[in-house]
């Protein structure tokens, strides 16, 4: 049993030998935030009376959805065998949409806690992050969490973890973030097993940016890990990718509240404030050096974030367009991965084509825009980026089906991913069937343990961005997990399917699909719209077409009665309330030509029934 550190090591004057930098790799809900809470408490970083659950998940969007999007670094004092250590816990995002951010957080650490729910076992995304950690030569501490649960199977999963990282099941720590059991032992093990950081204190300063967050009051807060040299307040620093320089207004550590320091030395982790207002000026992965004594070479590993999924965002009420524009401008201050440009849709009016890292990124962004700016938004079907080569050899990049050229196409290339799926082996058949339907090519299959398999597929990105994950979940009774990463592109036989309402093409419903699936898409889409669009005062034909060729048709009959005939005596109040309710309902409609289309039609028409059924359960 280790006591709380009596004297915490002072930033800027800490010997690298007593520093330990680590992160926690865990799947959503496996208990990372709860474990972090216990560590904050045990090390005294947060006083008992200030403690609140999920302390580090500051943004409420995270709390609601249970997703940690932005990482943070916390300095924790811990004493072992009479020596005081400084532990830096770097919180990493857990979701596959944010793989690049994860890889940068990992690069800031010497070790990682592999935290796995003892009742669930490891999940695909965790496995993916574990591979990243091992590639970065991190020391792994395997930990099973939630051992207080009656359903916990520590022996089974200890064997699984040991099998994965090579080691003895006996060495897998068993903890409970909830009760605190095993957490002190874990802190001790971090000190014992993780190597201290190494670096040259006399070399020109080099620090890696692993996170960059916009704060309304302080501008951009940049989180760094110092590799060589040191950084001091009031110094001018330089971003190595752009050579832009800024004055260091404040430098410090989070413990976990921000605490200014006299600087940061080799191996230390902390934050910088320079007064810049846009996270694009302080990019994750970039190297910080000083203007006075700049480093010759950056630390490497920097990549510009690359949006993978595109969707049109339109205000339901056209007059909200300026609000959406300003909101997006604000959002990009804090989200370097978000890109957008104005776009006009014949059906939806003025809006933006927005690029996201993935579907989760899209959903979170959309939800926050709606809530924080009180907007009602329509997002069009997510799309990938196609590379279309015309017969005259011109190349177009198409992220919006309505920009798909109508003739003279020599070749279309679509982005591919390599996907890893983990699931109990009984679902292998169902998973393979799903991947086959989605034009997947099997890459390989391995048994992780007796009854758990890892299946690898190469698939078109377009086939997984939409409802693939929901379907995977429903076909594996919730046990399947998915990880994917970009994997080049391939030539495909693609066509654009248009949807026409009353003979007019509705660009928001157009889709680019594989030729073999165009008919099915047309039938599915016209059928869905018939269900989702309420009857109007006139008949509404719905058609699906490839070019001028109609491939499917449906029709919505005209409504003939819309009146409440009964007299409710003198209860006029009830009648007026009913009218108000009806009008409220109409407000949630978008006029497409003369047709009132409910907002839900734009969302629901584009998800599969199977996935929707599951969502309803």
């Amino acid at each position: 049993m280790s006591p709380m550190a009596r004297t915490a090591p002072v930033p800027a004057a800490t010997d690298p030998a007593i520093i330990r930098n680590f992160c926690i790799i865990a799947h959503i809900d496996h208990g990372k935030s709860t474990l972090a809470d216990r560590m904050l408490q045990l090390t005294g970083a947060v006083e008992q009376r200030d403690m609140k659950a999920q302390y580090l998940d500051r943004m409420d969007i995270e709390r609601e959805r249970g997703i940690t999007i932005k990482s943070q670094a916390v300095r924790l004092p811990w004493e072992l065998d009479g020596t005081s250590y400084a532990l830096n816990m770097i919180d990493t995002p857990g979701h596959v949409d944010f793989t690049y951010e994860v890889s940068r957080s990992l690069a800031a650490c010497e070790g990682a806690i592999l935290l796995v729910d003892a009742a669930q076992g490891i999940e695909a995304q965790t496995l993916a992050n574990l591979y990243l950690a091992m590639e970065n030569n991190l020391t792994i501490i395997p930990v099973l969490n939630k051992i207080d649960l009656p359903a916990a199977q520590p022996e089974k999963y200890a064997a699984e973890l040991a099998g994965l990282i090579g080691g003895d099941p006996e060495d897998v720590l068993q903890v409970s973030g909830k009760t605190g059991v095993g957490v002190e032992a874990l802190l001790d093990k971090i000190v014992r097993d993780l190597p201290p950081p190494t670096g040259d204190p006399d070399a020109p300063a080099r620090a890696m940016i692993f996170d960059s967050v916009y704060d309304t009051y302080r501008g951009v807060v940049t989180y760094v890990r110092v590799v060589d040299g040191n950084l001091r307040p009031r110094e001018r620093i330089q971003m190595m990718s752009t050579r832009a320089s800024h004055e260091l207004l404040e430098i410090g550590v989070s413990s976990p509240e921000p605490k200014p320091s006299k600087g940061l030395g080799v191996g230390e982790v902390g934050y910088l404030i320079t007064g810049v207002k846009d996270v694009r000026q302080s990019k994750v992965g970039d190297t910080v050096t000083t203007l006075a004594k700049p480093a010759a070479e950056s630390l490497g590993g920097y990549e510009d974030p690359k949006p993978m999924v595109f969707s049109g965002l339109y205000p339901l009420d056209g007059t909200d367009y300026p609000v959406l524009r300003d909101a997006l401008a604000k959002f990009t201050l804090n989200d370097a991965a978000l890109v957008y440009e104005p776009e006009t849709s014949a059906a939806l009016g003025f809006g933006f084509r927005v690029g996201f890292l993935g579907l989760l990124h899209l959903e979170i962004t959309r939800e926050r825009l709606e809530r924080e700016y009180n907007l009602d938004l329509i997002s069009t079907a997510p799309n990938v980026e196609y590379q279309v080569t015309l017969e005259d050899r011109t190349v177009l990049l198409v992220t919006n089906p309505s920009e798909y050229p109508s003739g003279k196409i020599a070749e279309v290339r679509e982005p591919m991913v390599s996907a890893t799926i983990l699931a109990p082996s009984e679902f292998v058949g169902a998973i393979m069937e799903l991947c086959q339907q989605r034009r997947g090519v099997l890459g390989g299959m391995d048994y992780l343990s007796e009854d758990r398999v890892e299946i690898r597929y190469r698939l078109p990105l377009a086939e997984i961005v939409f409802d693939f994950f929901d379907l995977l979940k429903s076909r594996t009774r919730g046990y399947g997990s998915l990880d994917w990463k970009a994997d080049g592109d391939q030539v495909s036989d693609l066509v654009k399917v248009d949807i026409l309402l009353q003979g007019d093409q509705v660009d928001a419903f157009s889709a680019i699909t594989h030729r073999d699936k165009a008919y099915a898409y047309g039938v599915m889409m016209t059928g869905k719209l018939r269900e989702l669009i309420p009857r109007q005062q006139f008949e509404v034909p719905i058609q699906a077409a490839i070019g001028a060729r109609i491939i499917a048709r449906e029709s919505i009959r005209a409504i003939r009665k819309d009146v409440l005939a009964k007299c409710y005596g003198g209860d006029i109040t009830r009648k007026r309330k009913l009218l108000e309710k009806q009008k409220e309902g109409k407000k949630r409609m978008k006029m497409v030509g003369r047709v009132e289309v409910p907002q839900e039609a734009f969302i629901a028409a584009l998800s599969s029934d199977e996935a929707k059924d599951k969502a309803r359960k």
Partner: protein, 410 residues
Amino acid sequence: MAPSTLPLGLPAPEDGSVPPAAVEGAGTRSFGLYVHIPFCAVRCGYCDFNTYTATELGGGASQDAYAGSVLAELDLGARVLTSSGFPDRELSTVFFGGGTPTLLPASDLATILRASTALWGLAPDAEVTTEANPDSVTPESLRILREAGFTRVSFGMQSAVPHVLAVLDRTHAPERVPQAVAWAREAGLKVSLDLIYGTPGESLEDWRTSLSTALSYEPDHISAYALIIEEGTRLASRIRRGQVAPIDDDDHADKYLLADEMLAQAGFQWYEVSNWARTPLDECRHNLAYWRGDDWWGAGPGAHSHLGGTRWWNVKHPRAYAQALDAGRSPAAGREILSAGDRSVEEVMLRARLSEGLPTDRLTPAGRRAIAGLIADELIQPAAAFAGTVVLSFRGRLLADAVVRRLLPD
């Protein structure tokens, strides 16, 4: 009639007083009285009106004691109107609804009418109606009502077809209707018949039979209501459980079409979406007052009142109603004081349903801009619109709620 669920509103004052604004313009509005009688012999499966089948309701409330409570509320009403500064206005209409008013002895209804006349006076040409179930009247009771000053009776006929009446849980024998109509005529009362169409299992032919049967009794007035499946009723749960077929809007539309055709053929004119009269003099003026935004006092549990933009409603249960009045308190449960905006929304919503129509100058500029589109979509009558009034076309009557929404775009 008074529906069983009360709206949510502001608390109503214990002394029943109304805000001064309610008095403004009172001289230009007619004044009526509605008396709710919350009793029925059996509860019909489709009905969600505020009505009770027990004769004893506890706490001093009973069918026997009921008229006494109503008299107490009428006294309160007369005092409130005088003290609030309303001008003296004779009653131009009185309407007894339910429930089944004729379940009470005719003498009780007569007593209530006489008391009202004593308090406010009754205009010489006043219309005084009671609703009645065909099997709850006798030649004798109808004569008593006529002598007391009633001018009109509205029978709940609903249908002439036995299997339709059965789905509706109606207890009267179909042949009782012509009898009751004849007795009412003999007593010197005008007659209206209520019909319901679109009942599960009712064919178009069944509906034709009900219409022609009703017409053969030569009433002065007919109300034809599309069956509404009200939440919480027995019929609603039978439909939910699949024991009875659901209703269908297209079927309703076909039947409305047939009704208007047959009634017009027989010389009846529509004057409100669900109401037809033999001559303009046979229109139900009490109901018209609701649609025109006139003033009325509603007495009885769950009854609604309106005075110049203030609407209120009474407590729902007869026992709570009796107790409030016993204690000298107003039985009002809640009220709302309409803003100018609410009042103009209501005006459009209510007057657009009438054949006399809504003057276009009562609309907002945005509402007026919707008129051309309504003409193009054949929802309102073009000639009337050119002359400055919104009047529903035949198609527009079936889509009246949609027309109202378009006239109220803001």
